[in-house]
Symmetry: C2
Subunit: 339 residues, 2 copies
């Protein structure tokens, strides 16, 4: 079942069928109708491999994930975040006639090969990559969408992000409003994570507004976002000080790990600690106590990334842009007024 069969059936040339299918103007209404009927009756659809080869366009977008232990696996395993995102991308992209490929990546080299070899039309980078990689990729001359990046050198690319500063602000304000003054800030790394830095800036802003100082000794850094790290940092926090009453984290996963540590050490949430997460994973309202958190809609983020990318592919002259999605405080049981 090829374009030739359709052509024969409709009594035209393959070229004409192609014109019709690609909406090239110069076909008479009558011929067009005949072709369309043939397509319909034969149940024809084009072979994208062939289209891809001759158009040099694949209708394929790639999603790159930072690679841990030989595959995106390890990273994916611990953070629900990623797969809600992927779902969002897949959904919009497929509605616009694109398919999605996923891969992890070590080396810029590998990544460029992947794009070339599969003729990818666009790329979404999920997570942090070395600058070298961006530079390589930019040379590829295909649209790129970045997620959650604040680095200066990414400014000229497309970005989807959330209002991280406001997220940090809302978390801190919530705790301050409840009377907490000794508040820990749990980040992956302020040095390496601009996202966490933004959140901390927002956090500090709330403190300034209240006229309260924040002690930098109350910043704790875990490097990964895993339950294990949450558990570890929770224990460390108990050991290190008994001043703290409030905790703001950069991830629900960390917050949940911490709550586990508290429970194991006979500390109660929210009686001993008020803790606020970040993300609002679906599990977060089902843990006990349910988690007060800053909600970001990761699914929407994926959708936004998909739209941005396909737009950029289809209108090459469009300017790169940054989309910022809102965040929202979800008040639940893990925080309460300091008595």
């Amino acid at each position: 079942m090829t374009i030739r069969d359709v052509a024969k059936y409709a009594n035209v040339s393959p070229a004409t069928v192609s014109y019709v299918l690609n909406d090239v103007k110069k076909v008479s209404e009558e011929t067009k109708k005949r072709v369309l009927e043939a397509v319909d009756e034969l149940g024809y659809y084009p072979d994208f491999t062939a289209v891809s080869l001759s158009k040099r366009k694949s209708n394929l977008v790639g999603i790159m994930l930072p690679l841990v232990e030989d595959s995106p696996a390890a990273m994916l395993k611990n953070n629900q975040y990623y797969h809600e995102f992927l779902s969002g991308v897949e959904m919009v992209v497929r509605n616009r006639q694109f398919d999605t490929m996923i891969t992890g990546v070590y080396q810029p080299e590998e990544c460029r090969q992947w794009v070339k070899k599969r003729n990818l039309d666009g790329l979404i980078f999920l997570g942090m990559f070395p600058r070298r990689l961006y530079d390589e990729m930019t040379k590829l001359n295909i649209p790129i969408v970045l997620i959650d990046t604040y680095e200066e050198y990414t400014k000229q690319l497309n970005n989807v992000q959330i209002d991280d500063e406001r997220g940090g602000y809302l978390a801190a304000k919530h705790l301050l409003d409840l009377g907490h003054r000794q508040v820990a800030f749990i980040a992956t790394s302020l040095e390496n994570s601009p996202v966490d830095t933004k959140r901390y800036q927002g956090f500090l802003k709330a403190f300034h507004e209240k006229g309260v100082a924040h002690d930098r000794a109350y910043i704790f850094e875990t490097h990964d976002i895993t339950f294990e790290q949450g558990l570890r940092i929770g224990k460390a926090l108990i050991q290190q000080t008994d001043q703290l009453t409030g905790i703001a984290t950069v991830s629900d996963v960390l917050a949940i790990g911490m709550m586990k540590a508290f429970q194991e050490h006979g500390k109660k949430v929210p009686d001993d600690y008020s803790i606020v997460g970040f993300d609002d994973l679906s599990m977060s309202q089902y843990v006990t106590p349910s988690l007060t958190t800053i909600r970001q809609d990761v699914f929407e983020k994926g959708k936004a990334a998909g739209h941005l990318l396909v737009n950029a592919i289809e209108q090459p002259d469009i300017e790169n842009q940054t989309v910022e999605l809102p965040v929202q405080l979800m008040t639940r049981q893990s925080t309460k007024t300091l008595v």
Copy 2:
């Protein structure tokens, strides 16, 4: 940078370069060496779109997810299960030079189109699909791997599954050993889910071994696997009877939802109810109390599926087979001896 450039550089014909790259015997050592050097120096790698078109083989495997609300999204959102699986597949498949595409699907029609249009070499079906779909797909004549299916008509295809019966058995035996006799079994649907039926059979086996009867009134059915459904069924269970002391579920997600319901109604786990989950999601050891559950290694499941599929693609004469992975009881805090 095409095969011609390499040919020119090595002073041979494009055909010869292709022979070398595809390991077709009839090339002299010397020529081969020259070609390989050229490939190396020019940093050439083949365009898979072109290879795909001429070989009629794409080195692409597809993963099909049942579609909810226009995309696999909705389904993915609530179950971590899926993305660990995807990670496993991606990892092995990529090591074997394949790439992975993902899509959701409504209609057999759509699915067949996808396979044809992208020239997919193999397919993994994750989840339950209507029989009609399998029939359609079988006609496609590409290897197919099914996951967790017990239907008679799937027997002649490749399967990856776990020892569901033993899972049910272990859960029941654990509860029985702890002294529980009034035990609820929480399934999605015994009528529609052969997996749940297997588990229930194992469950009953343990009861028979102990010489204890199981009251079918203690079977509860939720249709989806979501926290919400767990919450709902948890409430229903409290309302319906106060005889029960033990609960076996077919999913950690359901168990966690149920625990939330109990907590909201002042019931304690494990004091009022001992509950065992199924899956051992990474979150399950971090909820409070940590969840006793039947562990299955979903990541391994993905890897097994990937291997099975690529094997079948590369050796078309290989027979279809079923791989069964073990399960394991993880005893944690949500179960205890009945006093």
